[in-house]
């Protein structure tokens, strides 16, 4: 079976575009719903109407975003079957389960309660409505948990083994799959990123109202919630970074080395390269500015464990490829003779490296006939795109530290009740709005682009996962996505701007009081 490399490229492009697009909406849903839950809790506890109005106003913006998240999420579920059929067959036994449980446990709750959130204000008691909001918040985060359990298995595929009779991976321990350490690190990191984004959304739009002198008390209260929640989230997203999960597996190590542009293994604890120009050709990093110890601490949470460099990891890979070829050979023997005991034994010994033989298929038709050059090429192909990872990671981390600073300062201002005194601060808060999106998208690139050439690390190369569709078909769907997603992005932006501009006063949720923004604010209530 010859695989059309155009289909591979187009399918990857389509998946990346649709996933990055979907991920514009998911983090806002994740973060904003908790802010709504906090606001509505204050309403129910104090009975003060303003907090209900806040929940309703931010809820309108939440609703627009939620619709986009749902619409683009279905694409993701369809695409595994449409464009990655061999992937779906090869790992569906393991990978499908967390997705199905996500539907059962989380998405169903979300989908069912969302209507009551918007249309139930007058139909149920405030306490019941609050419960609905809390369950919505819980469900969105649970949803992220199961999706990340699935994703973590792609990064660190434990709890499973190859079955030659069914030609696929099958689960051996669901406990291992569910409690994958990579999943835990990813979950905390990803939902925290969403909480940061939701907080920034509320902070920035509120800052705009204060700059305009509109909805002043409404905006200050909203900012106070956003500053507190945002500060906690920003600390969590940086301190509990996803990197803690990088030490556990080979490809994760490769990803970490690529992020660091660390070509050779350094003695522990490794230093962190703050700046440098990675040179892929000569496998070196020019003008490297290094801080000793930091990388070792981030990567291994210790001072005595070394972090392997790219070149060493490539050497290790060659050995795995040799083992993989043995497993591949045994698999072919078993296909002719289902009960060949010797082949079964060889396969059992080396099946965890079978994927490395599949990696050779990109270079040679039959992996058993690979030359040392083919093996070298296949081993080299496990190096991801170093400069992209290096820079994406640094920009993301810089954003993270900036969020801590901004939310920290906001929190300090809020606690001194001075949020509306400093126009420069308000302008900075407003202009920071796009940054959490930038950081979130770069995070996705580091995690997923950094996993290449694998779809499932060490198990299935991305290029083998595609469907037997024609390039023309993928062009058609890709063109459709570009067309409709662009149109929807415009509509979404127009509606978001329209309702943010209208504001709580324009929607009749808050009295229209135009206050001269240059005057000192009135006394607090």
């Amino acid at each position: 079976m010859i695989i059309d490399s155009d289909v591979v490229t187009l399918s990857r492009l389509q998946f990346a575009l649709t996933a990055l697009y979907h991920f514009l909406f998911v983090p806002l849903t994740l973060g904003l719903i908790w802010i709504l839950a906090i606001m509505e809790s204050v309403y129910v506890m104090t009975g003060r109407e303003v907090w209900k109005r806040m929940t309703q106003f931010w809820g309108v913006l939440f609703g627009i975003n939620f619709a986009m998240g749902v619409a683009t999420g279905i694409t993701m579920e369809f695409q595994f079957g449409m464009n990655w059929a061999y992937y779906a067959h090869y790992v569906g036994d393991v990978f499908g389960t967390p997705l199905a449980i996500e539907g059962l446990m989380a998405f169903f709750l979300e989908g069912t309660l969302i209507g009551v959130f918007f249309m139930g204000w007058t139909r149920i008691s405030p306490v019941k409505h609050l419960l609905v909001t809390w369950f919505l918040a819980l469900a969105t985060s649970l949803s992220a948990l199961w999706i990340l359990v699935a994703n973590a298995w792609m990064q660190n595929p434990i709890g499973s083994a190859f079955n030659p009779e069914t030609m696929r991976m099958e689960v051996t321990s669901f406990a291992e799959v569910f409690f994958n350490p990579v999943a835990q690190a990813k979950f905390v990191h990803t939902v925290s990123a969403g909480y940061v984004l939701g907080s920034m959304f509320v902070l920035s739009i509120s800052a705009w109202y204060l700059l305009r002198g509109r909805n002043v008390d409404f905006a200050k209260r909203s900012m106070t919630v956003a500053a507190s929640f945002g500060l906690a989230a920003a600390l969590s997203v940086v301190v509990l970074g996803d990197e803690s999960g990088y030490a556990v597996s080979e490809n994760q190590k490769m990803k970490m080395a690529a992020i660091e542009a660390m070509w050779e293994t350094e003695p522990a604890p490794a230093s962190f390269t703050v700046f440098g120009i990675p040179d892929v050709q000569n496998r070196t990093t020019h003008y490297a500015l290094q801080v000793p110890w930091v990388m070792g601490l981030i990567g291994t949470r210790s001072i005595d464990k070394p972090i392997p460099g790219i070149n060493n990891l490539v050497e290790d890979t060659k050995g795995k490829i040799d083992n993989g070829i043995r497993a591949y050979d045994a698999m072919l023997v078993l296909r002719e003779d289902r009960n060949n005991a010797q082949a079964k034994e060889i396969l059992a010994a080396h099946d965890k490296d079978l994927g490395y033989a599949l990696l050779l298929k990109h270079f040679v038709e039959d992996p058993r006939k690979a030359t040392p050059e083919d093996i070298q090429k296949a081993a080299d192909s496990t190096i991801p795109n170093v400069p992209v990872l290096f820079w994406s990671f640094r920009i993301m981390v810089a954003c993270g530290f900036y969020f801590i600073a901004l939310f920290g300062y906001s929190f300090w201002l809020a606690s001194r009740r001075r949020l509306d005194r400093n126009r420069w601060y308000l302008r900075v808060a407003l202009c920071s709005l796009p940054l959490p999106w930038l950081a979130a998208e770069l995070g996705w690139i580091v995690a997923e682009y950094g996993r290449q050439p694998w779809a499932i690390e060490g198990i299935l190369p991305t290029s083998l996962g595609v469907s037997s569709v024609s390039a023309g078909q993928v062009w058609t769907s890709l063109a459709g996505f570009v067309l409709f997603y662009t149109a929807l992005a415009v509509v979404d932006a127009v509606l978001m701007l329209k309702f943010a501009r209208k504001g709580p006063d324009g929607l009749g949720l808050w009295p229209v009081v135009k206050r001269d923004p240059s005057l000192r604010p009135a006394l607090e209530d």
Binding site: M1, I64, A67, M68, A71, T72, I74, E77, F78, F80, G81, M82, N83, A85, Y86, A88, H89, G92, D93, V94, F95, G96, T97, L99, A100, I101, E102, G103, L104, F107, F108, L109, G111, T112, L113, I114, G115, V116, F118, M119, G120, W121, I124, N163, T166, R168, E170, V171, F174, R335, S467, S468, Q473, T476, S477, F484, V491, D492, L495, K498
Partner: protein, 376 residues
């Protein structure tokens, strides 16, 4: 007690239950959307129609999402072959599913006639596309679809989008469309202002009649014009999930399983019973008419699933590649774990879904929509 073969039958049934739950719940949303511009003569009437489905359509749609996830997990080959093989048809269904959530949410966000007209027609289009194409896909299952596996179990597809539009498949599409139009109209008769409800009831009776004619026609065509598939080698219900381990013969009848298990006839009988209840009750605008159309939907889907059993996806060009209940499932561990998860969460889903329907009960009147600002 849960052997692989037992689990396979359970998951075949669960897949059917998910599909039926989707058709019974989201089916009325699609039917209502498809009839939006027929039943809703002016802006207020359309507002009423949309408000009958707005609180619940999103939860209803999750039955479909869950069905997709469950087939990925429990029947990965079925999911892989059908979604990639019928690529462009699935892409159209996907487009309908993408535009629907934003259609419901965005339509009311701008008070402008052309804007709302645009989204109305988007909703109508998605309300027609999904039932029609789902039916066409089902029709193709009986015809067999052009795919084969190689030794790596990599599937290759040897057909085009237009080949899916075989006359029998189109007929199946119309059965599905008329069925869900009836179901949607029965929903409107139950939930909308009585002036609209009366018109909906009349439409339901006509579309139900159309369904009966098309359904019987499809049955006769299936019995006399379309060869069935049968497993020709020894059936190993607990064997490994590799379709290539069996042999398949064509030429028998799709009604063979009805002969083997006479109780299967209960499904088409239920469908007709539901249609009769609908004809008799729908004008009364009570829940009984809606229950009638629900029974019709359940019976129709079951009758198709029963005829196919044990086949899931027959192959027209390489019959032994056909997917059956016995050789296309996940491993025992996966089926068992998923069954456990379903046993815990499905009752909870039914519980909170019922609560939401209870909270949102009652008729949406014209008076109500004229008096309130849109809340969604």
């Amino acid at each position: 007690m849960f052997d692989l073969d037992t689990l396979r039958v359970i998951w075949w049934a669960l897949l059917g239950i998910l599909l039926i739950a989707f058709a019974v719940t989201d089916g009325y949303d699609f039917g209502t959307a498809a009839l939006l511009r027929v039943l809703g003569r002016d802006a207020d009437e359309r507002h009423v129609l949309l408000e009958t489905v707005e609180p619940t359509w999103e939860g209803n749609q999750v039955w479909f999402v869950l069905g997709g996830g469950a087939s990925f997990a429990a029947w990965p080959m079925l999911y892989a072959v059908s979604f990639s093989g019928m690529y462009l048809a699935i892409a159209l269904v996907l487009l309908a599913f993408i535009l629907r959530p934003v259609g419901f949410n965005f339509r009311g966000k701008i008070e402008h006639t052309r804007w709302q007209d645009l989204w109305d027609w988007v909703l109508v289009a998605s309300g027609v596309t999904v039932p029609l194409l789902t039916g066409v896909a089902f029709g193709n299952l009986f015809l067999g679809v052009p795919f084969r596996f190689d030794d790596d179990l990599r599937m290759s597809w040897h057909g085009s989008f237009f080949e899916l539009l075989h006359p029998f498949a189109l007929l199946a599409g119309l059965v599905s469309l008329s069925m869900l139009l009836t179901h949607g109209a029965a929903w409107v008769a139950l939930k909308a202002d009585q002036s609209i409800a009366a018109r909906a009831a009349r439409i339901a009776r006509w579309t139900c009649l159309a369904w009966a004619v098309l359904y019987v026609g499809a049955g006769i065509w299936l019995a006399y014009g379309i060869p069935g598939y049968a497993i020709a080698s020894e059936v190993v219900p607990g064997g490994p999930s590799n379709p290539l381990f069996k042999q398949v013969a064509t030429g028998s009848s799709w009604f063979a399983s009805y002969m083997r298990h006479p109780w299967f006839w209960a499904a088409p009988v239920a469908a007709f019973a539901g249609a009769l209840v609908l004809q008799w009750q729908v004008a009364k605008q009570r829940v009984s008419g809606f229950l009638g159309s629900s029974l019709m939907v359940i019976g129709t889907i079951l009758s198709a699933g029963f005829a196919l059993f044990p086949f899931l996806l027959p192959s027209s060009i390489d019959p032994r590649s056909s997917l059956t209940v016995w050789d296309a499932s996940s491993s025992r561990s996966t089926l068992l774990l998923m069954l456990g998860a379903t046993a815990v969460f499905l009752p909870l889903i039914v519980l909170y879904t019922s609560w939401v329907f209870k909270v949102m009960r009652g008729r949406v009147t014209l008076e109500h929509v004229r008096g309130t600002h849109r809340s969604y």
